[in-house]
Symmetry: C2
Subunit: 378 residues, 2 copies
């Protein structure tokens, strides 16, 4: 294998596939990056066996020569060293050559690195997915849907299925749901599907977080392929594979209250800042619980009290309070997470009593909903 490549493109691709490489792997070759040079260009692959990322660098793009292949071939190089080396090479052009015994030379200007490579034949193959059923989602929408749900997955392995986000596709609509059993995040949107198939899968939260980091905002669309145990996200020159979680996701539809006794409309930012302040003096051990009470004249009081430190009382002027008066306690952290995930300047909160789950959504928007279970303190 021998090729000459633009350094910046190589650095970008290495950074992308590095997101899948773990230093804590039981399969030693997965600490490496696989590089394959064909007559079309160079393909890099990184994987931790849960997530696999493939980045392709074409010979030519928009009339610019990016890679010049001298001799096709393949190699696996230690990701930790290879990624640091390419970043620090002195010139814009890099030559990579595999010599005898998998010895790989990386040349740029007067710098010459010799790295011990591994046989690319021993690198695990990526899953082969039948790409019959593809649906498309605009990149910015996909990133928003991930951001607005993935924070609510469980971080505990007691119920592994809850560490993922439930993705359902039905009648041209994608629904994403995440819950750690104390709160739930829900987001739906129309997507472009080519057929009437429907899916119901659970994607690991970690995979979605990595996907979000790697997706280029300049790309218009991401194509998505779902199979029985894998999901593939396809962007330009980039393939992102994730395994799916096995098991049935709980039916969450009955968790969301259908009626409400108190409805409050608040400015999202003012409310978020008041919760943030009240959480400062809320005890850590109890998930920063704050109290929320309706007062007269549309005022909402947020307070917390930890006798050994002190107490805080804050007031927020609501736009409207409809229905019964209310005193309720909840986790400040869950509330701040939920408010940050909402879009729009105003939030509508619907309560059905101090002991019942309550939910928030932007005004006049049914596509997103954040639900929180209260904490019993009153």
């Amino acid at each position: 294998m021998r090729f000459i490549i633009q350094r910046d493109r190589l650095v970008q691709s290495v950074q992308d596939v590095m997101k899948a490489v773990s230093t804590r792997t039981t399969i030693p070759i997965l600490t490496g990056i696989k590089m394959v040079a064909t007559n079309e260009g160079v393909t890099l692959t990184g994987s931790d066996s849960d997530i696999s990322i493939e980045s392709f660098i074409p010979n030519e793009e928009a009339g610019d020569e990016i890679v010049e292949i001298k001799q096709p071939g393949s190699i696996v190089l230690q990701a930790k060293f290879f990624s640091e080396i390419v970043k620090k090479l002195p010139k814009d052009i890099v030559e990579i050559e595999v010599e005898n015994h998998l010895q790989t030379v990386i040349r740029s200007g007067k710098s010459e690195f010799h790295l011990n490579g591994l046989d690319a034949e021993e690198y695990p193959l990526l899953p082969q997915l039948s790409e019959e059923n593809i649906f498309r989602v605009p990149t910015d929408l996909l990133k928003a849907m991930v951001r607005q749900t993935v924070f609510a997955v469980s971080t505990s392995e007691t119920r592994p299925i809850l560490t993922g986000v439930n993705w359902k596709v039905e009648q041209g609509e994608l629904t994403c749901i995440a819950t750690d059993s104390h709160r739930l995040a829900f987001r739906k949107a129309k997507v472009e599907t080519e057929n009437t198939d429907h899916y119901n899968v659970v994607i690991p939260g970690k995979s979605l977080n990595e996907l979000s980091k790697i997706l280029d905002d300049h790309e218009e669309f991401v194509e998505i392929v779902i199979t029985a145990n894998q999901v593939l996200f396809k962007a330009k020159h980039l393939l992102f594979y994730s395994r799916l979680l096995e098991g049935n996701y709980p039916d969450t539809s009955r968790l969301i209250p259908t009626d409400s006794k108190t409805n409050i409309i608040l400015n999202t930012k003012e409310f978020l800042q008041a919760i943030d302040r009240a959480s400062l003096l809320a005890r850590d051990g109890r998930n920063n619980v704050v109290k929320f009470s309706t007062l007269e004249n549309g005022i909402v009081e947020i307070s917390s009290n930890t006798p050994e430190i002190g107490k805080v009382v804050d007031e927020v002027q609501s736009q409207s309070i409809e229905g019964e008066d209310l005193k309720i306690s909840f986790s400040a952290k869950y509330m701040m997470d939920a408010l940050k995930a909402l879009e729009g300047t105003d939030v509508q909160i619907s309560f059905t009593g101090a002991m019942r789950p309550f939910y928030m959504k932007p005004l006049h928007d049914e596509s997103i909903l954040q639900l929180i279970l209260p904490v019993r303190t009153y």
Copy 2:
């Protein structure tokens, strides 16, 4: 105590004095910030008993009212909570009032915090320094002198005196020296002294690092007072006290070679980058040792080799090589630290053989010198 204050000024002062507050202290009251309101303004103090920082906020500055004192007094508030609270207050104006039993109320807009305070009488007093002998250093020069020496202090407590920087004042000149016995950093400069006194003290490296962070680049001068066991840095509205290290600093003057057998002039940045690349494949356990050899035609070769990973060879074109040919090995980390501390585009390196300490300085500049002990590998 009761006063009304501009939030931004309070936030700034709290952040400054926080730099001296440690959460790991054996004196519980030192986890707090002392606040004293007099008819002139408000003084905040933070201390970990090694470093103490005092920040004064005057009632009025440049015609602007900053503080309105309603009732003089004093209190100590938990630094961790107080600093978070002031940052997140909703309005530009804050009212602070001590009520009964040291209960302190912090009000801003509709937010009201009640914090349990401590009696300011129990807070340790700051050292009283006789300010007879003051010398002045421009702030940017002081920060440069700290930055160019403090990195070379020892991080090990085997010889505690080496964890500090040796400051000497003599004949209107300040000399700063730091060494961890593997390398040495030296910097001197003329300073404004009012008399013919001389000093020879050792200031803890940690104190100098904190001082650098806190000094405002907009201030022209810092006044320095040195006593037997304390040093005080005075900037506008800011006092920074540090204890001195006890013991005699070793005589380092004989460490610096007076002759040289090989003199090389290199572009500092090119050389630094080559060392950085060579260090990538140098073994961690041996302080990233790299080899340095003179070749023909004024070329310097930098290389390293770790058989299980690979090797790297880099070349740098020198401006001149005078004297004997040389092969020498040294810590890449020490070399990079030293090169980053130097000023100027070019560096002159003087060697007296592969086993002898060598030193670097900017071309035509005797005010700064970086010395490194080689490693025996050839």
